[in-house]
Amino acid sequence: MAAWYLPIPDSESEPFWNAAAEGRLVYQHCRSCGNDYHYPRARCPHCWSDQVEWRDASGRGTVYTYSVVRQNPMPPFRERVPYAVGIVELEEGPRMMSALVEARPEDIRIGLPVEVVFEREGGDDGMVVPRFRPAR
């Protein structure tokens, strides 16, 4: 049984998590209406077309907003407080939630340029998760 907080990949999300395991960040593009979006869905949320494709993201983005969590009773996060978590806007447009890592929480600010890193969660039985750190 995987840890409670780990993603449970399904037929729509598996390519996303498989790409992450290979060190790639991907999002979806709708060939019908031209929108780019995340999280992955078999039909585009803007027009319900199934003519959607995966694209590689540059891995660059900016912090749209964030908070610093100072209280969380749930493991493993209770051992990590304080930590920053927020919404990253990819330079391709879609937004993702992400822990903001490899920085002190007080160094995070809205508008901060960030870049993707890939972290393993949940040990050897766990998964690779894309996250963001301040751009270098």
Partner: protein, 382 residues
């Protein structure tokens, strides 16, 4: 012209810390008291509107209550659910599907936490859209905090301005003998309280309590013969935007902008006609975003707008007159209590916290999820 419907019975159960009662018991206590308030009989109830438990919850609840309604609704969108229930109940009453609707809620959220059978911040598991968020460790509070952070960034809103909501709500609670917290607090007290998720301090957050409530609605014909002055439902509307935070297009724009405009239009009144406001106050930022969405002030202006104490009973915009979820009670999905307090204010039953002169129009706005869903109800008395 649609048939008019009215709120004819309102009541809370015992609330605060109630370790010796189950959530079902709180509901039957509240329903009994609301029925008494209305003058209707138990057997008159033919519509049941409730949520808060597992799958098939309304069946469990109906069974516990010993009623077998012909109309069942268990919409579950968090705190705004109860305002949506009014929308749904009115629709069912207007077409004659039902004659008497019971909206009922109860939870032992506080005692459950003490008993260790509930985790305060536990998000859903890693299935579906949640798999893209929960692995990063956001807490419920941090999701609201992200909205506050964005509001501060875009508009220069300050922690002092957020705190003002808490301070004025506590003032209102000080006038309510049943409120859980009644001691006055200052802006400094809020800023000195522990940071939970930047920029929200402990006193920016609603309290957690046990408690239940019930509201009874019926048709105009029946309302005329009920015990108390009918509180007419003049307009209702609902709206939703997101559940995953990454899907919320604008963190400073609450969908109450849509639901309130629609509810006010149905009621045929303007926002400046409203005499008293009961606005979901899960966190101080929730109130600021709601004030802007209602059109009481412009985008980004809510921080300065509340700085003069206008939210107090006796102020120019009396809001959360019972002390709200910030100070009075908050068993989890508090939208039902907005309706109860609005009805009391309109009936002139609010005691020391009664808005003067007695209000004729009230607006309730529930917010659920993570600033995800809103339901607006406009109420009035003849």
């Amino acid at each position: 012209m649609d048939r008019r419907c009215a709120v004819v019975g309102v009541a809370e159960s015992e609330f605060g810390t109630v370790p010796n009662k189950t959530a079902f018991q709180l509901q039957v206590d509240a329903a009994t008291a609301a029925l008494e308030d209305s003058g209707l009989q138990r057997d008159d109830i033919d519509g049941l509107f409730s949520c808060g438990g597992p799958m098939m919850y309304p069946l469990e609840l109906g069974e516990y209550l010993g009623i077998s309604p012909r109309y069942i609704d268990s919409t579950q969108v968090g705190g705004s659910t109860w305002e949506l229930f009014v929308q749904h109940a009115v629709a069912a009453l207007q077409v004659g599907q039902i004659e008497v609707a019971l909206l009922v809620y109860g939870s032992t959220a506080k005692s459950d936490l003490k008993r260790g059978v509930r985790f305060g911040d536990m998000p859903p598991a890693g299935r579906g859209p949640g798999q893209f968020e929960n692995v990063h460790g956001p807490t419920l509070i941090s999701k609201y905090a992200m909205a506050a952070m964005r509001h501060m960034h875009e508009f220069g809103t300050t922690s002092e301005q957020l705190a003002r909501v808490s301070v004025d709500t506590r003032y209102n609670a000080s006038l309510n003998p049943l409120a859980t917290y009644r001691d006055l607090i200052t802006v400094e007290d809020v800023l000195d309280s522990r940071m939970i998720a930047d920029p929200l301090h402990l006193l920016d957050c609603c309290i957690r309590s046990d408690g239940g409530g019930a509201v009874i609605l019926t048709t105009e014909e029946r309302a005329r013969s009920c015990r108390k002055r009918p509180v007419w439902v003049l307009g209702t509307a609902g709206a939703q935007s997101h559940l995953s935070m990454s899907q919320w297009p604008d963190f400073t724009d609450l969908v109450a902008r849509r639901s309130a405009a629609e509810a006010l239009a149905k009621a045929g009144v303007g926002i400046n006609d409203i005499d008293v406001f009961e606005l979901y106050d899960s966190f101080t930022i929730t109130v600021l975003l709601t004030l802007e969405a209602l059109g009481l002030c412009g985008r980004g202006e809510s921080g300065a707008f509340v700085s003069d104490g206008k939210l107090r009973v006796g102020g120019s915009l009396p809001t959360n007159t019972d002390g709200g979820g910030l100070s009075c009670n908050q068993p989890g999905m508090r939208g039902l209590f907005l309706l109860i307090e609005a009805a009391r204010q309109l009936r002139g039953e609010a005691g020391e916290r009664q808005v003067q002169p007695r209000p004729e129009l009230a607006l309730c706005n529930g917010t659920g999820g993570y600033l995800s869903s809103c339901g607006t109800v406009v109420l009035g008395v003849d």
